[in-house]
Amino acid sequence: MEFTLGILVDNEAGVLARVASLFSRRGYNIQSLAVGPTDDPGTSWITLRAEGEDAVRVQMQRQLGKLVEVVGVYHMTEGISVERELALIKVSTGDRRAEVMQIAQTFRAAVIDVSPSSVVLETTGDRGKVNALIEVMHEFGVLEVARTGAVAMLRGPGVFREDVEDGRAPPDDLRKTETR
């Protein structure tokens, strides 16, 4: 079972290494990992996709929670969060460029580079959409794919940071209901 974790961390040197080292040390597989600073330069947000049963996920969350730089670990389920991924897809067009462009348009993918024999498409969406576009492009010839991995955010007005900046614990109620 695939799942997404949102991890709020101090934006410090070595944080990513610690998270990655924990995953290799505990034998967990990371499917994708996206990290970047938030609007607060002292804080980064990591979106991590991994696979495992519920018990494995709970262990992962708790092990991550032990890291001193980790402020909070949240299970970003579909119900409570939105998720997007960006992909660049280099497609061999041959003499069928018009067809490729038309399909790209259907997928609302942008054409960001054109050469006589290829185009680079940029698409944003959930994994299903990105996978579908890549699948369709196989008919023409996919030369290369670069994906960012998923980034996720809580739906609605709630934010994780608010709780943290107040000096209160991160939203434990959410964390507990999600981890139990």
Binding site: S21, K66, V68
Partner: protein, 579 residues
């Protein structure tokens, strides 16, 4: 006022209450050693950095304070690795300080450069690379806070040489650091404690399992009161020994792979397991899916990640035992027993029957041997050490058969009386840890029970003992074998003894002489008793080489991967095949 980063470091260590550090100098830590030259902190010069970290560990285990060790960059730092992992596994509070090449050289493969943070990331609770000497007060303060709070553990501070030389204003660390990401459990949820108390009241066959957390938290008195109030049989993990008085009739002894017959059978038949401050290590649980199959499990634990990591838990109580054990004491008083007296006395009867089935306890005199051409029996040698020390020595062990015999046959009365590498099982831990223990308790008699394999792994620390006049007493249970490995080869590898013979052992008497120790060797019963008395009397470090029967095995035993109910008391015929 300004000072060097090195001086800031020592000043901050003092402000944390550090009066002794164990270390070894080198190029990258020259500025720190220069500052130590006229510091009031006592520096113990070990003979190998591994000795420094184990000594700091032994010091921490006995004193309950944070142990501190110091090593240079590169090989100095990598020599700490085993000790850091040892401390992490057993939740021992350490601060390790390593030198690092100057900031400008980091990443250039400079002389004695190693990515110390990278190497130690998985074996520390936390670690720091100091970029600016101005950060030293905050980092040192935070490192000690993290090492000693929550579930304790080792924290490493990597200090580049230029940072140690940097001149900075004198700053005192302020209030405890508010690291927003560093949280640890304190008070338990009252509902969880109440639920546990109700389960205890209703239990017909309850069993208390005592882990090292009871000792780390200093809550052994509370636990002893509880054990009495509930009138519950108790068993201990290796790390938990001493929390409960070892000679208490309610204490069934060690649990797990080499635990007593009664402790293992009781776990298999209990209807309620009350686990306090333990992590259900595989050496304790045997086959985890078959652990305590008839029992509901209560788990008092400070680290959330340990709850349900290995075994299912019915009543998790997340919290610091300093809060949750007194809360449980009160809750138990509010919830008088609902289980019938008959059911409880039947449980005690079953337990006593298992004890009888084993046929011996730690205090049952065993055949000593050492007469009429028979060699000394190692189990009885441990009993003799117990007698010679009046049962109240600080006992340090190495790792192997002698360690398990000590755990089984030396009943510990006090918390922090046993110092042993449980989780990592580090051979070579003993001698340096004994030196640290002796530093922590100069008035107490510190005995190291070691083996002929383990003792050689950090034998160079004999010189440290002489250097600082640390009168540790070392008993080598000498079977001329790597006994535990030999035992497994005998039982599970069809007696194909591969690389276990310790041939050409040094003569420990001559070694003692060379290092300025007293050295003795015995092969007879009378000789043993005399020699142990001589060891107890001798004012300096002494090593006693006890030649024992080489074929003895540690029993009881639960074969690896088996359930605790499969505990055996002797070599099975034919030998079981299990890895």
């Amino acid at each position: 006022m300004v000072e060097t980063g090195a001086r800031t470091l020592l000043r901050c260590l003092q402000e944390e209450g550090v009066d002794v550090i164990f270390g070894y100098p080198g190029g990258a830590v020259l500025p720190i050693y220069d500052a130590l030259y006229d510091s009031s902190i006592r520096h113990i010069l070990v003979r190998h950095e591994q000795g420094a970290v184990h000594a700091a560990d032994g010091f921490a285990r006995v004193s309950g304070k944070v142990g501190v060790c110091l090593a240079t960059s590169g090989p100095g730092a990598t020599n700490l690795v085993t000790g850091l992992a040892t401390a992490l596994m057993d939740s021992i509070p350490l601060v390790a300080i390593t030198g690092q090449v100057a900031r400008a050289l980091i990443g250039t493969d400079a002389f004695q450069e190693v990515d110390t943070l990278g190497v130690t990331r998985a074996i520390t609770k936390h670690s720091y690379l100091v970029e600016d000497a101005k950060d030293i007060p905050r980092i040192v303060h935070e490192a000690f806070h993290i090492a000693r709070t929550g579930r304790p553990g080792p924290v490493l501070i990597d200090l580049p040489k230029n940072v140690c030389l940097q001149r900075v204003p004198v700053v005192h660390p302020g209030a405890p650091p508010g690291r927003r990401g560093y949280r640890f459990a304190k008070e338990a949820d009252p509902g969880a404690v109440e639920a546990a108390a109700q389960a205890i009241a209703a239990a017909e066959r309850p069993l208390l399992i005592v882990g090292g957390g009871v000792i780390h938290s200093g809550m052994h008195e509370s636990l002893r009161r509880l054990m009495q109030a509930i009138d519950v049989p108790a068993t201990s993990t290796l790390m938990g020994l001493g929390a409960v008085v070892g000679t208490d009739p309610r204490h069934l002894g060690l649990l797990g792979m080499h635990g007593t017959y009664a402790a293992n059978r009781a776990t298999a038949h209990a209807d309620l397991v009350i686990g306090v401050g333990l992590r259900f290590d595989d050496r304790v649980t045997g086959s985890a899916p078959h652990f305590a199959p008839k029992a509901k499990i209560i788990h008092f634990e400070i680290e959330e990640a340990e709850i349900e990591k290995i075994v299912r838990v019915d009543f998790p109580v997340l919290g610091d035992l300093r809060y949750s054990l007194p809360a449980l004491e009160e809750a138990v008083e509010r919830n008088p027993r609902t289980a019938s007296d008959a059911s409880r006395s039947a449980w005690w009867e079953e337990i006593r029957a298992w004890e009888e089935h084993q046929g011996w306890t730690a205090l049952t005199p065993m055949e000593l041997g050492g007469e009429d051409g028979k060699l000394l029996r190692p189990q009885a040698v441990i009993q003799e050490v117990y007698k010679a020390t009046g049962g109240d020595a600080v006992v340090v062990t190495d790792v192997g058969q002698h360690q398990m015999w000590t755990a089984l046959l030396y009943p510990f009365r006090e918390a922090r009386q046993l110092v042993t590498s449980g989780g990592l099982g580090t051979m070579g831990f003993g001698l340096p840890a004994a030196l640290g223990a002796q530093m922590a308790q100069p008035e107490k008699s510190v005995w190291l029970i070691s083996g002929d394999g383990s003792i050689q792994m950090n034998i160079q620390e004999m010189a440290t003992a002489t250097n600082y006049g640390l009168p540790v007493r070392v008993v080598v249970i000498n079977n001329h074998q790597l006994g535990m490995v030999r035992q497994w080869q005998e039982l599970f590898h069809q007696e194909r003894y591969s690389a276990v013979a310790m041939t050409d052992l040094p003569d420990y008497r001559l070694l003692a002489e060379a290092y300025g120790w007293k050295g003795l060797r015995v092969e007879t019963a009378d000789g043993l008793r005399e020699a142990l008395a001589a060891c107890a009397e001798y004012p300096g470090p002494v090593i006693l080489d006890v030649v024992v029967e080489p074929q003895e095995n540690v029993f009881p035993m639960v074969p690896a991967g088996a359930s605790l109910s499969e505990v055996i008391l002797e070599k099975p015929q034919p030998a079981v095949e299990r890895s």
